[in-house]
């Protein structure tokens, strides 16, 4: 056992360990807790950096030990997992800073940060899982660790939201488990292998394999909020803003989408999925989700509810990109894991700032808010434009690649979906921008607080500005060799054996 065998485990253990320490910490030890939190996320970001460098140089990072008879617990860093790990740990750091500012003075912070770290550990585990059983383990851990965050406020209303969240996710977990066991009984292995490990199986198993696919994807689709399995996501918006930001823009929904990508690429293999005729129905479902959720977003007055439906719609871009089954669209889908995460977290941070500073929860209360909080609204505007897909922002790159890929793969109808969805995106984001920048404030804000010297406390202001900057940079420098796009191309080149 050398360093390379321990890094993946270490990455998962750090937040886990921090979680335990934070639970044990007294409520009023704010300094210690904040230091621990930030220290740990910086430390794992460093480790991720080392691994990122190593993976690109072809190093092999793997932790493995026996877990069940015939099955190992495997954490492995490959190019796909590194994409998700980097995203999660970078956003973990920013969200931690944000959450420290957001929760200042509110009760039960130990509990909050403890479960928050636990969620991060689970997300990193999901990202690094080297086989389906390890994936399942962390996937369920994520389900459970997110629950206390959703019910954090402790009211009857959030209890109901929590119940709905669990009904969906636990059922999804059961389907995933059933699919996993079924797959294991057919193949005797669950290891993720680039370009899949099922194509060599006898054709008599194909109908069973289709069943496995349906079970796995519908299990994962609950977290990825594919219509009609998306009902829990708007409900979970009852959680505090940092939770919505990290968990519902990044960790939880991404775990589902990432899992679908894994299943298609590293279990079934993209070409075998096409052979089984699985990708087209999935692409159609994703397209329906994109259009349906965008339409629903139009009619939400609650800012977070609108963002939630926007998330439902945007996550399906990832699935759409992958399900088109062409290398170019796949690059667009995979890179959207990063682009959507960074963009959506910006929007949620801003929504949190509005709620925390001015008490604004609804779009109809946002008149003239651009003047009161110009920086926040600037970040929000960049995020919104990124979502719509205005060049050269991150969202544009995604849509460009998916559109191009769809044409290449002969799925012209996808372009209609893309255009329709972009129009809908514009229709639900631009009015917000208009109201915020170009109308007069209507008297007092619902609940104004004076936080710090600037428009709001710096802890709340800096994270969205940084992520907004990333939205620009990821788009602007997409062609550089270390961009998310280049990395996605690197991943896809392995899957398609180009």
């Amino acid at each position: 056992m050398n360093f390379d065998n321990w890094v993946p485990l270490l990455i998962v253990i750090i937040p886990l360990f921090i979680a335990v320490i934070i639970f044990a910490l007294a409520e009023d030890k704010i300094k210690t807790r904040s230091t621990l939190n930030i220290g740990a996320s910086v430390l794992s970001l460093g480790l991720v950096g080392i691994m990122l460098w190593g993976v690109s140089k072809g190093f092999h990072y793997e932790t493995r030990f026996s877990f069940l008879p015939g099955l190992d617990f495997v954490l492995r860093a490959d190019s796909l997992s590194m994409l998700f790990v980097t995203l999660s740990s970078a956003l973990w750091l920013l969200t931690t800073v944000y959450a420290i500012g957001y929760l200042e003075g509110s009760p039960h912070r130990s509990r909050f940060f403890g479960f928050f770290s636990l969620c991060v550990a689970a997300t990193l585990g999901v990202a690094l899982a080297g086989n389906l059983i390890t994936f399942l383990l962390f996937y369920e851990l994520l389900t459970l660790a997110a629950y206390p965050l959703i019910v954090h406020r402790g009211t009857q209303k959030v209890r109901r939201s929590g119940r709905i969240y669990l009904m969906y996710t636990l059922t999804g977990g059961a389907l995933l488990l059933l699919g996993t066991v079924l797959l294991y009984s057919i193949t005797g292995t669950l290891e993720f292998v680039a370009s899949g490990f099922l194509s060599t199986l006898d054709s008599s198993t194909h109908s069973l394999l289709i069943l496995v696919f349906v079970l796995l994807v519908s299990g994962l689709g609950v977290k990825a909020a594919i219509v009609p399995l998306h009902g829990w996501l708007p409900q979970s918006m009852a959680a505090p803003a940092p939770v919505s930001a990290l968990l519902h823009a990044v960790a939880v929904v991404k775990a589902g989408a990432f899992g679908i990508v894994r299943v298609i690429y590293d279990v079934f293999g993209i070409e075998f999925s096409v052979t089984l005729g699985l990708t087209l129905p999935l692409a159609i479902i994703a397209a329906i989700t994109i259009i349906y959720a965008s339409t629903r977003a139009l009619f939400q007055d609650g800012l977070k509810a609108r963002l939630a439906y926007s998330t439902v719609s945007q996550v399906s871009y990832i699935i759409l990109g992958v399900a088109i089954a062409g290398p170019i669209a796949a690059v667009g889908g995979v890179v959207h894991l990063v682009h959507q995460g960074v963009t959506k977290i910006t929007l949620f941070f801003c929504a949190g700032n509005l709620a925390e500073t001015l008490g604004i929860h609804n779009i109809s209360e946002m008149h003239g808010v651009g003047r009161r909080m110009p920086w926040t609204m600037t970040a929000f505007t960049i995020g919104a434009l990124g979502m719509i897909g205005i060049p050269p922002l991150a969202g544009f790159i995604t849509k460009w690649y998916i559109g191009l890929g769809a044409l290449e793969a002969g799925h012209g109808w996808v372009l209609i979906v893309l255009v329709g969805s972009s129009l809908l995106n514009a229709a639900y984001f631009l009015p917000i921008l208009y109201v915020a920048w170009f109308t007069e404030p209507k008297g007092d804000w619902p609940a104004e607080k004076k936080l710090g010297k600037y428009e709001t406390s710096l802890l709340l202001l800096v994270p969205p500005l940084i992520t907004a900057l990333f939205v620009i940079l990821l788009g602007l420098f997409a062609s550089l060799s270390f961009s998310a796009l280049a990395w996605s191309e690197f991943i896809i080149s392995k899957e398609f054996l180009l």
Binding site: F23, P69, R159, L178
Partner: protein, 484 residues
């Protein structure tokens, strides 16, 4: 060498009995005596297990009389795991009880509990069906007395009903023993396994013994006595009953089914189907009833009804993997349920009640206890990583491999029902409300919180040591016919 001595098998039976007598005689030192005995028993079980793990199956003839006449004790992998889980649960409950009981109840609890422990150990090492009857009675009578310990009309009537049911079960079983002895001239399981054959008398024997043992194991619809008995007993006793006592009669049924009854694989699958259906009904019924409960202890008791159902899903599979899954269910459930009852005890003392709808703010006041509840809930739900997950995984796999996938669906439905009632409790515990019409919450001893948490953590750890535990199960291959 002391550690290689063959006498440890009898020591694990004798030591708790001596402790029971001593704690009865010297009441002023009762807790010290009891805890010393518990520690000693755990160490003895540990040594015996070590012998079995390193040297294989251990046999012992009491008083050096040979099999047909004397009493032979026999320890294989299955016995070792039952002994070990009894030791772990027993030790934790002893620690917990030393903080839970005060005054008079303590005086009665300790001798009865140590007596019960001795009975359990004796049961798990007996390979003679009459001796099993005696140990079953020791367990039954002390369990009834322990239920009655909390006093009050509810507990006493529950104990009374439990006693009648338990005696009826034993008598049905004993009738089977009498007929078996008459037909085959022995009560030794090994000899019986060589001699039994299918005939009308055998059907009668199988029917009598199975029904008798199912009654004691509380398989649906014979579970009617369990919720009242398990929920009205004092908390450490509830934990003992749910974790260990119902498993004792299950253990006997299991041994009979695999070894003694002349069932070939087809017959095991066919007859097992009936048990599997009853098990499924137990899962659904127990789960729904648990969800409807308004009291925490009753909820946990119905959860036991449900978890017993899981064990019977292994019967129609009739495969080694299925049996191993059932054994893992026993281990995981014993540990997790102990933790869960301890949680109920902590809440009961802290709040003065266990009404689920009024559990608000428990998260703030008893964080460790709620963590314990959540972790043990995870194991009961069968979510990874936990002992319950390993069991569920093995059983799912066994079901699919044998082509009987429908049991797998039952299993998943059970998991969801469990999730529903576990999170029902957690949901209320997370609510923050300041109520004035309630007595001020009472602080509870750290020892009780930490024992509950340790057991819950152990239920999670069981999810990581599966290769080791499953290895022990192979010693003496207890799940193969003619193995004993």
């Amino acid at each position: 060498m002391l550690i290689d001595s063959p006498h440890w098998i009898s020591i694990i039976i004798l030591l708790p009995i001596l402790g029971a007598v001593a704690s009865f005689l010297w009441r002023q030192h009762i807790v010290k005596i009891a805890l010393t005995t518990a520690t000693g028993t755990v160490i003895s079980v540990g040594i015996l297990s070590w012998q079995v793990i390193s040297n294989g199956v251990q046999c012992y003839e009491l008083g050096a009389w040979n099999a047909p006449l004397g009493i032979e004790l026999y320890v294989d992998g299955l016995s070792v795991l039952m002994l070990l889980v009894t030791a772990v649960v027993g030790f934790a409950i002893s620690i917990y009880a030393s903080a839970y009981f005060e005054g008079n109840k303590s005086k009665h609890f300790w001798p009865l509990w140590l007596f019960l422990w001795s009975g359990l150990n004796a049961l798990f090492v007996s390979s003679d069906i009459f001796n099993l009857f005696v140990t079953l009675e020791i367990i039954g009578l002390s369990a009834v007395a322990l239920v009655a310990l909390s006093g009050g009309a509810k507990a006493i009537t529950a104990a009374m009903r439990y006693l009648l049911v338990s005696l009826l079960g034993s008598m049905l079983y004993l009738m089977g023993v009498a007929l078996l002895y008459h037909s085959y001239g022995t009560v030794d399981m090994v000899l019986l396994s060589l001699r039994t054959e299918m005939n009308p008398a055998m059907w009668l024997i199988m029917g009598l013994m199975t029904v008798g043992l199912l009654l004691k194991t509380a398989l649906f619809p014979l579970h009617f006595w369990l919720p009242a008995a398990h929920s009205s007993a004092p908390v450490p006793v509830s934990a003992l009953l749910s974790a260990l006592v119902v498993k004792a009669s299950f253990y006997i049924l299991w041994r009979l089914w695999i070894v003694v009854f002349p069932l070939d694989n087809d017959a095991q699958v066919g007859l097992g189907f009936i048990l599997g259906v009853l098990g499924s009904l137990a899962i659904v019924w127990g789960g729904v009833k648990a969800l409807q409960q308004t009291r925490l202890k009753l909820l946990i008791a119905y959860s036991t009804v449900m978890q017993i159902g899981y064990l019977f899903l292994a019967f129609p599979l009739a495969s080694i993997m299925g049996w191993k899954a059932a054994l893992y269910f026993i281990l995981a459930h014993a540990i997790a349920k102990t933790a869960m009852f301890m949680v109920a005890g902590n809440i009961l003392i802290h709040k003065g009640h266990d009404r689920i709808a009024d559990l608000y703010s428990t998260v703030q006041h008893l964080p460790l206890t709620i963590v314990a509840f959540s972790l043990s809930g995870i194991s009961l739900m069968g979510l990874p990583p936990s002992g319950g997950f390993v069991a569920k995984w093995l059983l799912l796999e066994a079901a699919i491999v044998s082509g009987q996938w429908w049991w797998g669906i039952v299993l998943l439905v059970g998991g969801l029902l469990t999730g529903a009632y576990v999170f029902k409790v957690l949901g209320y515990a997370f609510i923050q409300e300041n109520s004035t019409n309630e007595p001020r919450p009472i602080g509870i001893s750290k020892r009780m919180e930490w024992t509950a948490l340790s057991m819950a953590l152990f239920a999670i750890v069981l999810g990581f040591i599966a290769p080791f535990v499953l290895g022990i199960m192979d010693i003496g291959s207890p799940f193969t016919k003619g193995s004993l």
